[in-house]
């Protein structure tokens, strides 16, 4: 194993981990507020990717037909921003119909609703757009740079930079703004904090909206990196990001991001050393071993055995 080969895989793992991290953030944020996992999140990622497809196609049409002359980089930025904005409404709707009526129900019931909303999103997509796969329009020209024998495409750089930037922005938002403070307070205690005038009916949709926006950014970046979309693309990546969110310690936002990258690294490096068909087997065995010896994840605190079960 040469050094360049190793670094080549580091680059790949960074890109692959970015997707997991962006999606895992949404799981972790919702968990920290409601102590529930939003199992529709993987499909929100898919919806975000499709919305990104629609926005990108529309913008490119406007540009090529000469309506609004926009530079290429602006099209890219607008696509990401508009898709994040639109998808955050999907998150709010999911919260409204799937989670708010069940706030006092057993947690497993909410998990089932989440799963079912996921199926509805997939099927609705299938019914609307048909079973054909869509090609994500290429928003940036692919360029390959060679740095000391390691090949890096500009798409990979874009994916990694945008996702790290979004994570830092989220960190600042949660730590510095008033809304972020409300969210932190709510995650500390969601029974008492509403008595202090912070409504959970505002904070919970906000959390869903931010999580879905991040998932949409992940979806658009995924579309740029792997330009084929199909309605079931969110299932596997969503469940794996869920694993990452738990691995980081439930409710820990930075833990989820780091565990997302870690899962990406595990998967890529397992595929590097062993035959790639063994990827899931070994990656999940490692996850199982980590959780057996460190049952509360990396950054999680050992809660009392019973939460809201």
């Amino acid at each position: 194993m040469t050094f360049t080969f190793f670094f080549q895989n580091v680059v790949n793992a960074l890109q692959w981990g970015s997707f997991y991290a962006l999606i895992a953030l949404g799981y972790a944020m919702v968990y920290s507020i409601l102590m529930l996992f939003n199992f529709a999140h993987g499909d929100i990622f898919m919806v975000g990717s499709y919305i990104g497809f629609g926005v990108a196609t529309g913008l490119l049409y406007l540009v090529t037909s000469g309506f609004i002359p926009l530079p290429h980089w602006l099209v890219l930025v607008l696509t990401i921003v508009i898709s994040m904005f639109l998808t955050s409404f999907v998150g709010v709707i999911v919260e409204r119909i799937g989670y708010r009526p069940l706030r006092n129900a057993p947690r497993a019931s909410a998990a089932i609703t989440g799963l079912m909303i996921g199926i509805i999103l997939e099927t609705g997509n299938l019914a609307l757009l048909g079973a054909r796969r869509l090609n994500f329009p290429s928003l940036i020209m692919s360029r390959t740079y060679e740095i000391g024998g390691v090949f890096v495409t500009n798409k990979k750089i874009l994916v990694v930079l945008v996702s790290i930037g979004l994570m830092l922005a989220l960190d600042q938002f949660v730590r510095k703004t008033k809304w972020g403070m409300a969210m932190r307070a709510m995650s500390y205690d969601f029974v008492v904090v509403p008595l202090m005038g912070v409504s959970i009916d505002v904070i919970a949709p906000l959390t869903f909206a931010i999580g879905s926006g991040l998932a949409a950014a992940g979806g658009v970046l995924y579309g740029i990196a792997y330009p084929i979309l199909d309605p079931y693309m969110g299932i596997l990546i969503g469940w794996k990001a869920f694993v990452a969110a738990i691995l980081g310690g439930r409710g820990s936002i930075m833990g989820a991001a780091l565990a997302g990258f870690l899962l990406g690294f595990i998967e890529i490096f397992v595929a590097m050393i062993f035959p790639s068909t063994l990827r899931d087997l070994i990656a999940f065995s490692i996850v199982l071993a980590i959780l057996t010896f460190r049952p509360y994840g990396f950054f999680g605190k050992p809660y009392s055995a019973k939460l809201r079960l």
Binding site: I117, I119, T123, G124, L126, A127, T277, L278, L281
Partner: protein
């Protein structure tokens, strides 16, 4: 008053014991097998409606009156008339049976049920397959309910247990009794295979319950979400392991299972499953499960051995899941690792939470209802997968623990003679 809501309807149906309903259903099915064909011809139907006419109604709206009349004249009216007329006699018989040993009376009822299902299934192969899959679904739902309902964990590993069972049972039958390109010539004559098939199934269940230890041992230290992940990881590991085992066909799957999962076999296994699981959850051990679910540390203080309880519950649930997987492999006669993926997981979870947690009868209702619904709505194609999730979400919103949750399953209570509901003051 809420009690009076459906008072008239409930009163109308209340006077008949279970025996009456079973015999009524048998009569209706007998009627169908005797005059079903000419009758559907008269009503302008192409053939006997397989699923109470719903499929035909959704496919060809022009045939709605015909299908409706068929269901009314063959099923509804004869059953209602029969049960109303014979109510007195049936109550007398149920009373006599009630005085006999319970096993005798239960066996008699099951025999009637079996003949009803058998006769109903003789009309078409589709019905036969549907009933087999439904019985297997009941086993699966019940075994998951032991873990998710009675013990209150959120286990996602059931497809993994099923996969273990399905592959072990298939390797047993295909490897020993069949000429196959993967395993070579048969080692034993196929004639005795039929009798050794239960051994294969028990082996399948045993291997699945050994696999369950992988999930059960981490569950000593953690529960809730972390256990969900551990079980999910287990499911992925099993699937991936089988995909990489070229001995059993790898991702292409394994086919050529003998047709030994006949209706009587599946029926007997399903009854055994319901019986043992019901006894298990009603036993002291079952109560210990509930104690662990409600408050683990309190249960520990009350001398419940929580580790042993968790381990037994996981292994017991996995055992039946493995057997169900083995039967499924022999009903479908082809399995591949993709069968036991996230989709199966969503399906099994949906059945458990639809039917009701912590309840044997709820699991039966959930499995049968979900399967019937899913088959009946088949003509709607993909819109089926919008309607079913919407229904489930509604169930979750209005009854968060499922349709029939936290109910005892008391066979004597079900079989006993029913007196007419008296006017309440």
């Amino acid at each position: 008053m809420k009690e009076k809501r459906f008072y008239r309807i409930r009163r109308f149906f209340s006077g008949t014991p279970a025996l009456g309903w079973l015999l009524g259903a048998f009569g209706a099915v007998l009627l169908e097998s005797l005059v079903g064909d000419p009758f559907s011809e008269i009503l302008g139907l192409p053939k006997i409606p397989v699923l109470f006419g719903v499929v035909i109604m959704l496919k060809k709206p022009a045939l709605i009156p015909g299908a409706f009349a068929y269901v009314l004249l063959i099923y509804a009216i004869p059953v209602i008339l029969f049960t109303r007329i014979t109510a007195k006699g049936m109550n007398w018989m149920a009373d006599k049976l009630d005085k006999m040993p319970l096993w005798f009376s239960a066996a008699l009822h099951l025999l009637v049920l079996y003949f009803t299902l058998d006769l109903w299934a003789q009309v078409s192969d589709y019905r036969l397959l549907l009933i087999k899959l439904m019985l297997i679904a009941i086993m699966l739902t019940l075994s998951l309910n032991v873990i998710n309902g009675y013990m209150g964990e959120f286990s996602c590993s059931h497809p993994g247990f099923m996969a273990l069972g399905a592959y072990v049972a298939s390797v047993f039958t295909v490897g020993l009794f069949m000429n196959d390109r993967l395993f070579g010539h048969a080692l034993l004559p196929a004639g005795i295979g039929q009798f050794l098939f239960p051994i294969g199934l028990i082996l399948a269940g045993a291997i699945a319950s050994i696999g369950a230890l992988v999930v059960a041992i981490p569950s000593f230290r953690t529960r809730g979400d972390y256990l969900a992940i551990i079980s999910l990881a287990f499911m992925f590991i099993v699937k991936s392991l089988i995909e990489n085992l070229e001995v059993v066909g790898g991702p292409r799957g394994l086919s050529g299972q003998p047709d030994w999962a006949t209706l009587p076999t599946v029926f007997i296994w399903a009854i055994l499953c319901v019986w043992t699981i019901n006894n298990f959850v009603e036993s002291t051990m079952g109560k210990a499960l509930n104690a662990v679910r409600d408050e683990e540390s309190a249960a520990d203080a009350m001398t419940v051995n929580t580790r042993k309880t968790k381990m037994i519950a996981f292994m017991f649930g996995a055992f039946w899941a493995g057997i169900a997987g083995g039967l499924l492999a022999h009903v479908l006669r082809y399995i591949n690792p993709g069968t036991f993926g996230l989709q199966k997981l969503a399906e099994v979870l949906a059945m458990v939470y639809f039917g009701g947690l912590n309840s044997v009868i709820g699991s039966i209702v959930g499995a049968v209802g979900f399967n019937l619904l899913s088959e009946m709505l088949r003509p709607l194609e993909i819109f089926k997968w919008i309607i079913i999730p919407v229904l489930l979400i509604l169930v979750m919103i209005f009854r968060p623990t499922g349709l029939i949750a936290f109910k005892h399953f008391d066979i004597r209570e079900i079989l006993k003679p029913k007196l007419k509901m008296k006017e309440r003051v």
